[in-house]
Symmetry: C2
Subunit: 419 residues, 2 copies
């Protein structure tokens, strides 16, 4: 893509009202635009990152038998009343103008209610179980103080997976599969997570689990053991900071702020009971379906990656999520036609290149923008390098450039998706 044609421009100044480094960098780089408190547009660069995250998430969800679908945002009152969630403060209500006092919809902040009601049509027998469906969909939640940028939006993108089982044992078998799939998602997004014991809700069988990423901007606090990976959310913690880990005995427990990037809930039969979701078992006995639900905040995941992968000059995207693999900079007008040609050759062999061919932009500005945008490989074609028939390549996370020939450049730029 020609940078001069890109819809967005970078901002030199910090946007007002943002505290989180991720929000500042994503807005300065032109990845996101804050429309209202907690409400963001994903601009073309940000959308490219989101698409790569979604591809990873879909691959992992499909691999554990998840079937993708899409549920609505408008959830009618009767669905939420059946499960006792109509009056929860987390939801926005929607109404037609002039009908303020009789809003009949809540904007979906989770979809157990409506999904269980639909599943009644499709699940009748033990032979129909187990099943798992998911969606990548926009959620709405009334966050009183939406101050963490894309880490906690009032409107945000979420992947929510739901599973249906005949027995609790089967739910917990699948729960372990989802845990592995989630760990794979986060690993492929270059995030280290702690699988963290957390509190149970009124609608869960027992404790739930969160995937927590250590970060000072996080709103959670966890106690964790670096040796064995065991962790507890401070809400339910039995671990003590500085004490020996009760699980492995091999290291001292540490305490840290963290961001919750995913969570998994063993729901049990509460939603099935509320919506009449029963199945006939092998003996023909009617039993309520056992459910689980499993979330990943997609836009929060993007922001978390930025919190972890950045330096004082900008974002340092992991190759698996970068909006482009290479950022080609034109430093010298006399090299324009040669660099144009290089751009086309790289693009034609399938490398995602952002080509900074803007006119009237200094070399310093180009370098600063490249650091801000954080594309993995910065490629420079100058008079000096052209004379050698070589190009200068620098990885965003390294200090030193390398001089390489075009064939080597292509090899370097082949995207290495983390698996």
């Amino acid at each position: 893509m020609y940078q001069s044609r890109l819809f967005t421009k970078t901002m030199r100044e910090e946007p007002s009202g943002e505290i989180a480094a991720s929000a500042i960098l994503l807005e300065r780089g032109g990845f996101a635009f804050k429309n209202s408190a907690g409400v963001y547009t994903l601009l073309p660069l940000g959308w490219r990152v989101i698409e790569r995250i979604n591809t990873i998430v879909r691959e992992e969800m499909n691999a554990i038998g998840g079937q993708e679908m899409l549920m609505p945002a408008l959830i009618e009152r009767r669905y939420m009343e059946a499960t006792g969630r109509w009056n929860m403060d987390v939801g926005f209500r929607a109404h037609v103008r002039g009908e303020e006092d009789e809003a009949q919809f809540v904007l979906g902040w989770s979809h157990e209610d409506i999904l269980a009601a639909m599943a009644v049509r499709f699940i009748n027998s033990y032979r129909d179980l187990p099943l798992a469906v998911y969606q990548i969909q926009t959620k709405f939640r009334n966050e009183a103080r939406a101050k963490s940028g894309l880490l906690r939006g009032r409107e945000f993108m979420m992947k929510d997976l739901y599973s249906f089982h005949a027995t609790q044992e089967d739910l917990f078998r699948y729960y372990a599969e989802v845990r592995k799939a989630y760990e794979s998602v986060f690993h492929r997004c270059s995030l280290e997570t702690y699988y963290t014991l957390a509190g149970g809700g009124v609608f869960t069988l027992q404790n739930t689990h969160e995937f927590q990423v250590l970060s000072d901007i996080g709103e959670d606090t966890i106690f964790f053991c670096k040796a064995c990976g065991y962790a507890e959310n401070d809400e339910v913690a039995t671990l003590k900071e500085g004490a020996v880990c009760t699980q492995c005995g091999a290291a001292a427990v540490q305490k840290g702020k963290s961001i919750e990037v995913g969570n998994i809930f063993p729901l049990g039969t509460k939603y099935a009971q509320a919506t009449g979701l029963f199945f006939a078992d092998e003996r023909g006995e009617k039993k309520p379906v056992v459910m689980g639900s499993y979330g990943i905040g997609i836009s929060r995941l993007m922001a978390t990656v930025v919190e972890i992968h950045r330096d004082e000059r900008g974002i340092v995207w992991p190759e698996s999520l970068a909006p482009f693999t290479a950022h080609l900079l034109l430093l010298d007008e006399s090299q324009r036609s040669e660099t144009d040609a290089l751009y086309r050759r790289l693009r034609d062999c399938g490398i995602a290149v952002l080509y900074d061919e803007r006119q009237g932009v200094s070399a310093g500005e180009r370098f600063a923008d490249a650091d801000l945008l954080g594309i993995p490989y910065r490629v420079v074609a100058s008079k000096k390098t052209a004379a050698l028939h070589k190009y200068e390549v620098k990885r965003r996370d390294e200090q030193q450039e390398r001089l390489v020939e075009e064939s080597a450049l292509r090899e370097i730029c082949r995207t290495k998706q983390q698996k």
Copy 2:
């Protein structure tokens, strides 16, 4: 995919309250679920169709320089007040519980307002123009009578493209490009459309254009000439039914009901004026940016395809949009292991197969379901065909089966995307 593992089941009865054939077939087949009037879930089969439509739409929008992004559904009052659209009845309002009387958001039913306000950050000079951005996003519109199923939802998926230009001439140059791209989208979805002159709105430069598909379920009426393809919406019609076409003189004008699957609007400078979106031209003079907007209703497009491509037994998906290419039916339990093996071989060579291996389902039910679901190639492996080392293949839109060997079967099933 194993049909026994599919989340959905087909329904024999017609769903209550649906008039449109598309709504009845999509719900009976398990493509969609009506959650509320005008509010639908896209179930896994329907989502697969939507994904194929979206791939086509993205290819065509990218080909005319569209940059994909994603704007929010929550649009703050100030954006809509600036353009004079806050009090329009088409919108749903969203509020936090207890703040009914001071709703600060409308649920986006179109995004000119918020987009023009954002573009102020990115468009300063004539050098920044032209630009085009688009999104595939959920829209919300207050339809008093949502009676046409997915043809007119209160919540629905839409592709909206917006373009920015220095001059009206450049807008109309791009307008013609978008027309071609839209015609390509509809052609690839096996829809014949009339490019139809329609009324101008208060926010448009002049007349707008609609892409209309002839269908009795349509809510529009158009006058059209089959010879030259010229058409007018009855709102603005100068053509008369039965009279000779005023454009080509070669045929008599016809009149018909139709479904609007796309529309394009030359907006002019109204939104730029309202939001302060100005650019400096070559002489440094400040001028308002000229905008266009261009919509395709994605979920409506799916329903329209079903209206056009169906028979008395069910849907007849075009190959370019079908959720699977082949529907493999197991008719005889004694053939299960051979048919299982065939399924795996077809799947492993990249053919999208739905495999009906359900237990306790009669051959009649399997055939009826195959007709209802409308997958292009029905493949049957019976004792009779097995003895010949052949398979029976029938195209959904043909009467006659063919007996073919496996290599020929594979060749037939290679998806032929219409281009």
